[in-house]
């Protein structure tokens, strides 16, 4: 679904204004745009945190009450005992009022306190997430970069040579892969590639790192984690590269039809310049807007993909916590994942602003 970039409306009549002191005004506007986006991101994070709080605490049948009741009925603890335990795990005080609990919860978040894991007592959720998160960021991030780059190049080629062989091939293959849910593709890779065909050495490639290897800045380490990340990344890339190519193709085709490209040709500009500065830079813009949505989608798929390949990222963490009903961890992962996506959104918006002066300086303003 397209994002809402407001188009410039009819420009106001030309007045001969005095030349503005550009530098300072530019700084102010740029800053304010960044500030505005920053504030908005924080606002979103706050809303999500609150939503999670409500989800966990207030709705009937919520996990905390379930946990307390469970402890009471299964282990015969008193309410106070169970509540005290719950407090440790979920980081709240059941005797305090809802508002106080909420306040405590928020303060805890600011301190980076997400509670303690039920399944591995003694380990805070934050610690656990910190252990698993980098792997997901690495595999998903790298996959996104590769996927976008490939899609970008293919898309431009497809737009310039519409109906050509690359166009048709990529469209068909890309669409087919897009139709395959990413988790199913992961399963297929294992079943077909490893079990049936024996092409993929699953036993060696699973996991995120070879046993016994310590993180260090060496080529051996880097190539090892690259090797292990191959299967998850392959899944992400295969399911998204085609889509990127199609988006880029459609965007480039649209730009190619714009007046300024025809004028650029009329101006006798060199082809290379037209392709990069006039077509490329403009065709890129809608892509950036899509990064945020696609990133969220890929991160979501990570839950399954990581499980399939035993890749120890937050996806796997979430899956396991769901299975063991480790509510604090589930809650924590949800929050962290959302924050990551919000930050990705923010980054995409900032890049977009850097590349598109209409967003930076406000649309449709004749000074």
């Amino acid at each position: 679904m397209s994002t809402d970039v407001s188009s410039p409306h009819t420009s106001p009549p030309a007045t001969s204004a005095a030349p503005t002191r550009r530098t300072s005004l530019l700084h102010r506007i740029a800053n304010s745009f960044i500030l505005r986006r920053l504030v908005r991101s924080l606002f979103v994070i706050w809303v999500v945190a609150t939503g999670v709080f409500l989800l966990v605490r207030l709705l009937p049948g919520n996990p905390v009450d379930v946990y307390i009741n469970q402890q009471i009925s299964l282990y015969g603890k008193t309410y106070d005992q169970a509540a005290a335990e719950a407090q440790v795990y979920f980081r709240f005080d059941p005797s305090a009022s809802i508002v106080e609990q909420y306040g405590g919860y928020l303060l805890g978040l600011l301190r980076g306190d997400l509670g303690t894991s039920i399944t591995t007592p003694g380990v805070t959720v934050t610690e656990k997430i910190a252990q698993y998160l980098p792997w997901t960021l690495y595999s998903v991030g790298l996959a996104l970069i590769i996927s976008i780059s490939v899609g970008l190049v293919l898309g431009m080629i497809m737009a310039y040579r519409r109906g050509g062989i690359i166009d048709n091939l990529v469209t068909v293959i890309g669409s087919t892969f897009h139709a395959i849910p990413n988790y199913l593709l992961a399963i297929l890779i294992v079943v077909v590639g490893a079990v049936q065909l024996g092409v993929i050495d699953y036993a060696r490639m699973r996991g995120n790192i070879s046993p016994g290897l310590e993180p260090e800045l060496s080529l051996r380490f880097l190539s090892d984690i690259g090797y292990h990340a191959t299967l998850p990344m392959l899944t992400y890339i295969l399911t998204t590269a085609g889509t990127w190519a199609l988006i880029m193709k459609s965007s480039t085709t649209q730009v190619l039809g714009e007046d300024y490209v025809t004028v650029a040709k009329a101006r006798g500009l060199k082809d290379v310049r037209i392709q990069s500065d006039y077509v490329g830079r403009n065709a890129l813009l809608p892509l950036i807007a899509q990064i945020a949505t696609q990133a969220g989608f890929v991160v979501g798929g990570a839950i399954f993909v990581e499980q399939t390949f035993s890749y120890e990222g937050v996806g796997l963490l979430l899956f396991e916590s769901i299975n063991t009903r480790d509510y604090p961890t589930i809650q924590g992962v949800l929050l962290v994942v959302t924050i990551t996506v919000v930050l990705a959104n923010l980054a995409a918006d900032l890049v977009n602003a850097a590349l598109d002066p209409r967003i930076r300086l406000g649309a449709g303003g004749a000074a």
């Binding site: 106001p12 030309a14 500009l269 310049r273 209409r358």
Partner: protein, 351 residues
């Protein structure tokens, strides 16, 4: 600019130009069906006609800027350089074409609203033009000087415009900037497609005056395409009327406006009321221009013409020279009954 070459050498000669558009699997439509004219240096030619008559196609074809579905299927466009060398525009190779465009012949398009790259400043785009047309890269100072000069000639303030992005300029400013950019390399031929259509009346006036001035100052030949007859009357020495892809009348401005000899031209002029003065009888032309895919037999205007006879419908009439003059300023009309065309505007209300 050095004075132009000998007065009897046209700067551009178009002979029997044919352009067709592909409209579907294997079908084509002839948009230009044999257009011939000569343009002499420093003269101004107006191409007028209704929508779909082919004037925009002709303008684009001159610089080989037809859309992907269009192609030149016949005829020639010969451009004569200042040193006398002749180039066939229809056969130029890509590199040569690129260098020729803008430096020798430039085009100002209809609707400058979207003519500029939205992500680059005007200054950057002017620099692009200068850099890509120079053997050795010009210095920043030189770029700045030449761009500023061009902008000043269209009465815009360089300091402000050069660092602006296109969306920060108004419609009129953009149109003037586009004109400035077109003159950046001092071309000898300027093609303008509906240069004032998208603008409000006051800005139109500014642009028209500007064009007249610039023509005198830079001494370029001008072809402009318009459905606005008043504009044609003001700026042009010569007028060509087009209908259904062919030239149906050509002559000086006086010829066309005071004594048109083709019924279509006459009706075209009668369809436009003057703003001041007596109100003449207004007559719209009955019917509509024919579909280029299914042209009638013989004269294409015959179905709408009250002077039409069987002879008209038998074969498409050629241009008949009525008043011979040098430098392709003859008055000619493609009508068998040109002697019956008496152009007058019956006044039905006095001012």
């Amino acid at each position: 600019m050095t004075p132009s070459t000998t007065p009897d050498a046209p700067i551009m000669s178009v002979k029997d130009l044919e352009v067709a558009y592909r409209t579907g699997k294997g079908t084509t439509v002839r948009a230009l069906r044999g257009v011939t004219f000569d343009l002499y240096p420093e003269s101004a030619l107006a191409l007028v006609g209704e929508s779909g008559c082919g004037k925009t196609t002709l303008g684009s074809a001159l610089l080989r800027l037809l859309p992907t579905l269009g192609e030149i299927t016949g005829g020639s466009i010969t451009y004569r350089r200042e040193d006398g060398r002749e180039l066939d525009v229809t056969r130029m190779r890509t590199g040569e074409l690129r260098r020729w465009r803008w430096s020798e012949a430039a085009m100002v398009f209809q609707g400058a609203q979207n003519a500029f790259n939205p992500v680059l400043t005007i200054g950057a785009q002017m620099a692009d033009t200068l850099i890509d047309h120079s053997e050795r890269r010009p210095s920043k100072k030189e770029i700045l000087e030449r761009s500023s000069e061009a902008l000043r000639s269209v009465r815009l303030e360089p300091r402000r415009v050069l660092r602006s992005y296109p969306h920060e300029l108004s419609g009129g400013m953009k149109q003037r900037t586009l004109i400035a950019m077109a003159l950046l390399l001092r071309p000898r031929l300027l093609v303008l497609d509906e240069p004032t259509t998208a603008l409000d009346i006051l800005t139109q006036r500014t642009v028209i005056d500007l064009l007249a001035e610039l023509r005198v100052e830079h001494r370029f030949a001008m072809i402009f395409i318009s459905h606005d007859l008043a504009l044609a009357a003001e700026l042009a020495d010569r007028v060509i009327t087009m209908y259904a892809g062919k030239v149906i009348e050509t002559g000086t401005t006086a010829d066309i406006f005071y004594g048109p000899k083709h019924p279509y031209t006459s009706k075209l002029i009668n369809a436009v009321p003057p703003v001041v003065g007596d109100l003449p009888e207004l007559a719209s032309i009955p019917g509509a221009p024919p579909s280029l895919a299914t042209l009638p037999q013989g004269c294409t205007f015959a179905p709408r013409c009250e002077l039409a006879t069987d002879a008209c419908r038998a074969a498409e009439p050629e241009l008949i020279e009525l008043v011979p003059r040098p430098e392709d300023r003859s008055h000619a009309a493609a009508c068998l009954h040109h002697d019956q065309v008496h152009h007058e505007r019956k006044v039905i209300a006095r001012a």
